[in-house]
Amino acid sequence: MALPQNKIVRWIDHRLPVFTFLDHELYQYPTPKNLNYWWNFGSLAGIVLVIMIVTGIFLAMQYTPHVDYAFASVERIMRDVNYGWLMRYIHMNGASFFFILVYIHIFRGLYYGSYKAPRELLWMLGIVILLLMMATAFMGYVLPWGQMSFWGATVITNLFSAFPGVGNDIVTWLWGGFAVSNPTLNRFFSLHYLLPFLLVGVVGLHLVALHQHGSNNPLGIDRKGPQDSIPFHPYYTIKDMFGLGVFLIVFALFVFYWPNLLADPANYIPANPLQTPPEIVPEWYFLPFYAILRSIPNKLFGVCAMFGSLLVLFVVPWLDTSKVRSAYFRPVFKWVFWLLVIDCFALGWVGAHRPEGWFVIIGRIATFYYYLHFLVLLPVIGWFEQPLPLPPSISSPVLKRGGRRLALARHKP
């Protein structure tokens, strides 16, 4: 697109090149022509972040961060604020869907090797986004001040007491007192409002890193020339819009028809520091990590294993020794990838149950396998695996449906 001839636009652009920037990054931005629908989830997650911030700002106008009023103020939003129920249910379910989208986005990156050179920092910024999301979601869940809010906050903050020597001091410092109490709620509200804007900043860096080398693609090979790329607009804008429509249909089903399906009924009971609920279960998106925590018999090592399961993702670009990006051409890794997916679901399943009987054993095996995958299988498979021959360019195999297989067959020795 050439810049519009409008004088005002040109005057502004000459001094502040926002129009040129948008033209480069949203319009002409050359993108591999063969991206499949798994490449929709990044932009979807970005849109959900905006939805969360907008609904959150409106909720904050009505919410009262005080232990005596927080629960009632959330219910007041549900009952007396115009469309408050809508804002609240969008925000509450939006958190779950944000994680669904980001988890799919991460697994897509793992499958197609999107973390490999030159996209290591892009990947690491993504993990920073995940960590910020988790902190934000955890603190947001505390705000309604229900039973799970209170006891979840108690359990999670108490994890820091596992650190020898300074543990208890850290916990007191986090709480702002000697128990989860009003100062805790106040600081969680403050940080819950702050962190999403940090998230926006890191997402910005994520996009800068993305646009430096452009998207990876299902074949995982670099673009060889202009024939491998298409402009972002209109091809991927319309594809992302369609994907957004499908997502919103699923999202709206939950918001309007099953708004409490992903929530715990116990969080509609006001927080009571004197009464521990029979089960303290985190939100579903934390369950795999909760399972890892509880699979280690020692508290300190359990905490380390849990945080380690996230931190290990930072070094995935160097743990994976294979030069081939896409699992499509990696006959061994492809299966190991699906084992990891099953392993994560198993961890989530174990995390939802009391650590008794078989759940302990399954949890330990799954925890062991999680680390085995990243620390052993990922490097070792790269050494011995014989990848399938790569197509010479993106254009050759994507000519038409099934063309890729033809192209592959042609290039086999």
Partner: protein, 267 residues
Amino acid sequence: MTRRRIMPALAGAALLALGAGAAWAQDSSEPPLPKMEWSFNGPFGTFDRAALQRGFQVYNEVCSACHSMNLLSYRDLEGPSALGYSADEVAAIAATKQVTDGPNDQGAMFQRGGRPADHFVAPFANAEAARAANGGALPPDLSVIIKARAGGADYVHAILTGFRDPPQDMKMAAGMNYNMYFPGHQIAMPPPLTDNRVTFADGTPATIDQEARDVATFLAWASEPTMEERKRTGAKVMIFLLVMTGVLYGAKRRVWSSLHDKDEKDS
């Protein structure tokens, strides 16, 4: 595995995980809650107004002796989207209550008749008074009880109709009552409902089951008075989204068709 097979695989796995997350609260010692037919179930479900009014009567004449509903005001009962009472009827209901107000210009608290804007008057001044009057047990506030219990209205109905004589071999703690559906079976609440505990104005026979159904319906409304608005809005939103997504799909096909045509020629 081809790319086309990944999508359903992941979707299926995601559904499995959601199911696992929702199923954590199952306990085997209580029988499963009877599944009731509620007028408010399903995507187009609405509250049965007659049942709501009868249910409010049960709450007002029976439950409210011990259970507060602090999040509700009498004005909430008014209008066709609530219980269907007129403004005058709500004012009459509120006027039967005594509300502590103040302080007045002498600095003293005083009693006055209730107004529609007042919150439901609680039976006890505070939790300690409630415990003292109930053998140490705190009757929970019922404002959001349907959302606060796994099983929702089914659970409340089951508890209200689930009182039985304890089994021979069961040792009951002092002041406790046996209930089939209550976790652990020992509940401090004595059986609150009996046949003809209330007399319904519309002539509906007041069996225990009917009273329990009606009060569960009323509590379901109280837990989420905006449910009908939510479902109505949802229907409109879904229609809009389906049409919009269909149009976007058509646009996507059209935009990309030129690209696919070009590829065909190139090959």
